[in-house]
């Protein structure tokens, strides 16, 4: 049912796009038709695939590294009050700096290759993952805390056996956000300076007035984000099912 709903939404979207092209009578270098974009995508399939591969690697690596760093930070914040006191204001302050504004600096530091884009993706997802997981770790049922104290629980075992499993749904929420933000970070990094990737291809196509190719790249990027969102959504659901001890949500 969900598949058919999505297919119907896609058909309606394409039809609206086509109607817009006909009604506005815009030239193809301003607003190409869906058919023209499909033709451009097919003609440039190799170059799109090559650049898609680069962006996908940047996004996935950024997501993995950002998640690992976020999880490690959240655990450290939970374990050490001193670390929490020192680190929380710094984390909040860094959020006041728009990550996009750092893109030129990151390109300067990490070069035109994948490194600067991965760092960009890491920076953009680090805070949502840290914040969501830390929130889950600290919002523990006070009954569990009382029971554990009466059992003479040790702090690290309480963290491992109770806090972390109970916080997995919150981590899933952070990951869902991260899956949407990571491609944005990578593409902005590519816009600022790159020789590969979908963001680079979009800029290149725009500069050469190949708007149909630009649209094709944009659609492929959107498909990448949606697939990532679905994959992470499945993972987040599994985390929630595990934490609730049920087989299906």
């Amino acid at each position: 049912m969900r598949f058919w709903d999505s297919l119907l939404a896609l058909v309606i979207g394409l039809a609206m796009w086509q109607v817009l092209v006909i009604v506005t009578d815009a030239p193809h270098f301003i607003l190409p038709s869906p058919w023209r974009v499909a033709q451009a995508a097919y003609k440039s399939r190799v170059i799109i695939a090559e650049n898609l591969w680069v962006t996908a690697i940047e996004v996935v690596l950024g997501l993995l590294i950002g998640t690992l760093l976020g999880v490690a930070t959240a655990i450290q914040l939970t374990m050490s009050k001193t670390f929490e006191r020192l680190m929380l204001p710094i984390l909040v302050f860094t959020q006041a700096v728009p990550v996009f504004a750092l893109a030129p600096l990151l390109t300067l530091w990490f070069g035109y290759g994948m490194g600067s884009k991965i760092v960009m993706a890491v920076l953009i997802i680090y805070f949502p993952v840290t914040s969501a997981f830390h929130d889950g770790l600290t919002r523990i049922d006070s009954g569990y805390r009382d029971l554990s104290l009466s059992m003479d629980a040790r702090k690290r075992h309480f963290l491992w056996h109770i806090q972390i499993p109970q916080a997995l749904p919150s981590l899933g929420t952070g990951l869902r956000l991260a899956a949407v933000y990571a491609p944005i970070g990578a593409v902005i990094g590519e816009w600022v300076g790159a020789s590969k990737g979908l963001g680079y291809l979009m800029l290149l196509a725009n500069g050469r007035a190949k708007i149909d190719l630009m649209f094709a790249s944009l659609i492929v990027l959107a498909c990448l984000t949606v697939m990532l969102h679905i994959a992470v959504g499945i993972l987040a659901n599994r985390l929630t099912c595990y934490a609730q001890g049920i087989s299906k949500l």
Binding site: D146, S150, R154, Q244
Partner: protein, 241 residues
């Protein structure tokens, strides 16, 4: 097990400038003491104080075991909510205390305890698949797994239906024999069935209430149980107006 010790508690508990209660209690060893009183009088606070849990107020007084050995590490606790961890199996929930202390759990003993509370066939199941009564029996097995001489029960059966509650009372009375039990309850019938000592708590302090002369666990329909229940209820109603 060595004879379970009693507990002596004496002092004044205050929240801000307001005195919540003044108490001088003796909880006899190896017996069931049921603590009753209206809501907010501080029954659960007494449990929490002795357990060393956060209470939000200040206790000026002392509590100690009658055998002179410190109470720390000798009390297990069972709350109104079963507090089972949803992601663990029934068996793993029973063993959780050992894991939280970083010890290797004695799984065979946990299986024996599950057998004792009638849950052998459910050891691998997750708590979400169990009924309310089965969940409380798992919590009881977890309490027994701690194998401590003193057991604090904070209204553990209050959320169960009447039939399951009566079953749980009988099971708890059987498996907790020889232990010092302090049961906080709102239910005069529960106290009349289970108690060796009934303590009624009010803002004025704590006072012991006469228990039926027959031995606990008493029959629900026994005349002395019903009489005790009725008198207790009348007293509690009088205390709340």
């Amino acid at each position: 097990m060595n004879r379970s010790p009693g507990i002596l508690l004496q002092g004044e508990y205050r929240i801000g400038d307001r005195i919540l209660f003044n108490t001088d209690m003796h909880i006899p060893g190896a017996q069931w003491t049921c603590l009753l009183g209206r809501s907010g009088v501080g029954k659960s606070t007494i449990l929490r104080l002795i357990l060393g849990l956060e209470t939000g107020g200040i206790f000026d007084g002392s509590f100690s075991a009658t055998d002179g050995v410190p109470l720390a590490g000798r009390i297990s606790y069972m709350a109104q909510s079963d507090l089972l961890l949803p992601w663990l199996s029934v068996l793993d929930n029973v063993c959780i205390g050992a894991r939280l202390r970083g010890e290797a759990p004695d799984v065979n003993r946990a299986r024996d305890l599950l057998h004792r509370v009638g849950l052998s066939d459910h050891a691998a199941q997750k708590p979400a698949t169990l009924s309310g009564g089965m969940r409380q029996r798992t919590a009881l097995a977890r309490t027994l797994f701690e194998d401590r001489p003193i057991v604090f029960l904070d209204e553990p059966f209050s959320a169960l239906d009447a039939g399951t509650r009566a079953d749980m009372q009988e099971l708890a009375a059987e498996v907790l024999q020889e232990r010092t039990v302090l049961l906080v309850t709102h239910d005069p019938a529960e106290a009349a069935r289970l108690a060796h000592q009934i303590t009624v708590m009010s803002a004025q302090g704590t006072q012991n209430w006469p228990v039926p002369e027959t031995a606990a666990l008493r029959h629900i329909n026994a005349a002395e149980t019903l009489a005790c229940q009725g008198q207790l209820l009348a007293h509690l109603r009088g205390a709340s107006v």
